[in-house]
Amino acid sequence: MGQLVEYLSYPFVRYAFIVGVLIALTSALLGVPLVLKRFSFIGDGLSHVAFGAMAVAAVLNVTNQMIIIFPITVAAAIILLKGSQNTKIKGDASLAMISVGALAIGYLLLNKFSTSTNISGDVCTTLFGSTSILTLNSFDVWICVIMSLVVLLLFFFCYHKIFSVTFDEDFARATGTRADGYNLLIAVITATVIVLAMKLVGSLLISALIIFPAISAMGVIKSFRGVLVLAAIFSVFSALIGMILSLLVSTPVGATIVSVNIVVFGLTRLYGLVRR
């Protein structure tokens, strides 16, 4: 405990905790409609695209990688969303192509053109997250705070519309809700959260933050509002425990957070079995 308090006296550790909690909160909220609409694969695909974009940024040697990663990932989100609505092209196949393609090209670029001396270390860091969570500056923290506020406000003001569009898109559109706009909004915000979350858990593990809390909450609670709240609680709890554990026993932070999420998921399943 004393060790933990000592760690928390460093500003970069506090930054890491703030960003970790906010990302856990927003990804869990977004995860609920994504999972229910059978869109969770979009989160997975986007995280791979974000990796590819990061590789491009690294090769071009730009100082602020966000300038490249962010627009590419958002564009991919829009394309994936439109693609999944198009019945002519197999949605899952085109998604797999984009996501594996982005991984391959990303690694190729890094391997061939990167100026770094430790390429495999760089790749591992981007894919699975690492100490980069401890290199956040106050600018990163502010971006994260603003983004989280946007997501929270969206869910507060558009809660009923999000519910309606998630539950029954045809009905929502027939009664005059602009469902396409909401889908687009959700996809763009998901892309943003994924880009931010890359620093926390790495691009391969991001979809865990989106999917696990939502699924765990759905196993226990029977209303949409309840699922949103509980998913947020599960996710923030897992992120906190994961970060503390990784500090104390020095495990990789992303993998630890995801492992705690898996344990929570297991416990909710157990609860479901016992109650039945």
Binding site: F156, D168, T175, T177, G226
Partner: protein, 241 residues
Amino acid sequence: MQLQCSDVSLGYEGKVIMEHLNFTVNQGDYLYIVGENGAGKSTLMKTILGLRSPLAGTISFSEGLQQTEIGYLPQQTLVQRDFPASVGEVVMSGLLNKRGIRPYYNKEEKKRVHQIMERLEILDLKKKCYRDLSGGQQQRVLLCRALCATEKMLLLDEPVAGLDPKITAQMYELIADLNGEGITVIMISHDMNAACLYAAHILHIAHRPLFFGTKEEYLNTEIGRAFTEVARQEGERTWDS
């Protein structure tokens, strides 16, 4: 006249599935849309709702009815069958279009939801989870949501699909009662027996408009007699098995 379809062509992605469709619906009408599977019934309904645009022709609304004021009971999707939502949340979402940009529902709207749930006798289900309900209860909840969205016109896409005979009969009676209270009903159905019992008008389509008129006229046409006969025999066969 609430709804008028003039020379409408339906289809998607450039493929025409029906042409030259003409019919009108007046306030308080009870119209059955019948036809084989894949004849374009659901596409027609989605076009009326504005979910698709007609390839040609016009669909117009009058007598104060807006396109977004139609209560719609869609066929259930797989997603909904395991959706974590309380009955109250589902029904409430029917009111969404009336609320504008205000983020939450006010007292009056909650009262209206309460009344409609009472009317459909599902008030005791309000806190229950939608996915735990029986098929008949789920349809009742979706009908309730449709009623929240409208005071004028209901569009029902096979509302009794998959329900057992007793629940089916109750559902038909309920819809007939609502129609008796002045709500226009347009229903897609395979059930010719019910159509004979409840419909005022029939629209029979099979990739082209075959018939539009009152039920009595329909039963006097050759196609009407043939179709009801087939439906009756099929009905007997299902009962026997």
